[in-house]
Amino acid sequence: MPDTAKMLDRYRRMGAMRAFDEACLDALRRKAIHGELHVGLGQEAIGAAMFEALQPGDAVVSTHRNHFHALAKGVDPRALLAEICERETGLCGGRGGHMHPFDPENHFSATGIVGASLPVALGYAHAFALRGEDHVAVGVTGDGGSHSGAFHETMVMASARDLPLVVLVENNALAISVDFAAVSPTSTVAERASAYDALGLHVDGTDVDAVTAQFCHAMDHARSGQGPVIIEATCCRFRGHFEGDPEHYRSRDERNRLRAEFDPIALYADRLTEAGVAREDLDAIIKSEKAAAKAMLAEVLADPLPDPADALAHVFVDDVFVAGAAA
């Protein structure tokens, strides 16, 4: 018998993630974000799975499309949204912006450079091993990032040292416009794990139950000292690569088809209704998450922007010492 309470939690979590990114889209429309924005709509199941699989001491190093991973790692949503909206109250005082949230307490960080998340996660993994801690480092990449040299180097080092590293490949089959199938020599990334004598897992990333189970399995494997794991979760990106992407590379029909067929939230709603949950209860969850995100955005937008007078602070921890600077 399905555990509907647990299922509803998953549903709510996915709903909260989607509502968060919809708030970001709203913020962009209101010109509260003046740079790029990459949202994760369509990839909520992976974020929700991560939430369940992670422990507080674990580390996550994410990508340009990082909001769901941050939320899964326990980053304060309000501080995250404020950072995305470039506010002084943001996680990083508005310095980092949406591609560069850093939350040392929660062991969460991200980078805007594709592939560059993985070596950083490797560093966490080495620290955990050195200190004898049973934490796991998760490095996130897209399918595109799996072709970068950093992916290879990270796997080589992690596996040779049996480090507690999980490489999560969110395979939405697109790197901006480039089809995974057109540039990958293999039909999955997971199968490349054998080249590193690592565990490779492949899972439908639109099925939150499946991806949660596999993600937990991956974490257990790494946590128990059996070496690194590549877990590939297939999914679809519902919007452009970034907001404003003209998407010359796919038709509107194609995009609509993906949305219709592979929406992890809609798919899970079906499963929940099959399990006897009422549609209106599900709709209420989505509604309340949307309302919460909307309220949070309203608050954030009332926060101040950073004071231009502070633009030069924080380059170095130690003030640049210059002998006789007073002279």
Binding site: E86, G94, I113, V178
Partner: protein, 339 residues
């Protein structure tokens, strides 16, 4: 303005760049383009739009995110007698593949004693449009420090077309840095906008352009800052300060004589740069001018650039660090008031 001219001025900068590349690819079938999203998508800004349809997916190759591989492919292609154009989407990403650019492409002609030519264009986009520390840099100062690379950063559609053609015809490796903010503009958005002929034409690499004449202060800059400088010059003109604005067009070669001649006349030199202040263009050009006309050839010298700080995400902070009209006019006023 003729209808024809009007049409040309309505073209976005990316279309002008794509036109230049297409004209060169037509006349020279050894040109091969490789980069992320340059084919099917026509480039993230559209600066290679239509090329793949016209020249095929092998000459306009959509690459995986493997910059180390495809910059090196450029070197191998050049060695095999081709003329590669390699696109690094944003110049900020050069950290994953600088190796092939500066240790191979830049040095092979020299290391081979002149036997191996390296005709490669590394096309990329730099500059601030709100994308924070890892997606807003200019970095021409970085390339310019490394010998063997020519480094071009044009300021308007006309120059992009002519300099791209010159770059594709050159036998030397060239880093061609477009500015993201300019890539979002059309010909008519530019203050300084010469006609863009339909035919292919080249502009010699290393020739600066005096884009506004003046007698009180010489202001040298390049790329998107040329527009900002022209705006600033207009503002202070109303206050009686006459500014000569020079578009350097490239940092290697650097057209010191044109700047020095102007500075010798005005007695005041201001170098403005959107790239980081230290160890960059502002000091190099200043020193070269001093070397050319002497310490006593100038009454004043000053520089304005992005301070040595990662570029902040917030608009309020970004505006505080990127040299804008206000900062430039303030400098110009201060200089004009001095002696």
């Amino acid at each position: 303005m003729s209808d024809r001219r009007n049409d040309r001025m309505a073209m976005g900068l990316p279309a002008v760049i794509a036109e230049s590349i297409a004209l060169e690819m037509e006349r020279d079938d050894t040109i091969v383009c490789i980069g992320e999203d340059i084919g099917k998508a026509g480039g993230v800004f559209g600066a290679t739009a239509g090329l793949q349809e016209r020249f095929g997916a092998d000459r306009v190759l959509d690459a995986p995110i493997s910059e180390m591989a495809f910059t090196g492919m450029g070197v191998g292609l050049a060695q095999a007698g081709m003329r590669p154009l390699i696109e690094i989407m944003f110049v900020d990403f050069i950290g994953v593949c600088l190796e092939q650019v500066y240790n191979a492409a830049a040095k092979i002609h020299y290391m081979s004693g002149g036997r191996q030519r390296m005709p490669i264009v590394f096309k990329t986009a730099g500059g601030n449009i709100g994308s924070a520390a890892q997606h807003s840099q200019c970095l021409w100062g970085l390339f310019a420090h490394l010998p063997g690379l020519k480094v071009v950063a044009p300021c308007n559609p006309h120059d992009h077309k002519g300099l791209m053609a010159a770059a594709l015809r050159s036998d030397d490796p060239i880093v061609f840095i477009e500015h993201k903010a300019l890539l979002l503009q059309k010909g008519r958005d530019f203050r300084h906008h010469p006609d863009i002929p339909d035919r292919a034409y080249t502009i010699p690499l290393g020739e600066a352009a005096v884009v506004r004449q003046g007698s009180d202060v010489t202001l040298a800059t390049l790329s998107a800052t040329v527009e900002t400088a022209l705006e600033a010059a207009e503002i202070v003109a109303d206050e009686g300060i006459s500014v000569e604005v020079i578009d350097l067009r490239s940092v290697v070669p650097l057209d010191t004589p044109t700047v020095a001649r102007s500075a010798a006349r005005t007695g005041r030199l201001l170098v403005v740069d959107e790239d980081y202040l230290s160890y960059g263009l502002t000091a190099e050009l200043s020193m070269r001018v001093i070397e050319q006309i002497g310490l006593d050839g100038l009454r004043q010298i000053d520089r304005l650039a992005l301070p040595d700080v990662p570029i902040p995400a917030a608009l309020s902070l970004e505006q505080a660090v990127v040299p804008g009209t206000d900062a430039i006019t303030a400098k110009l006023r201060a200089m004009a008031q001095g002696n």
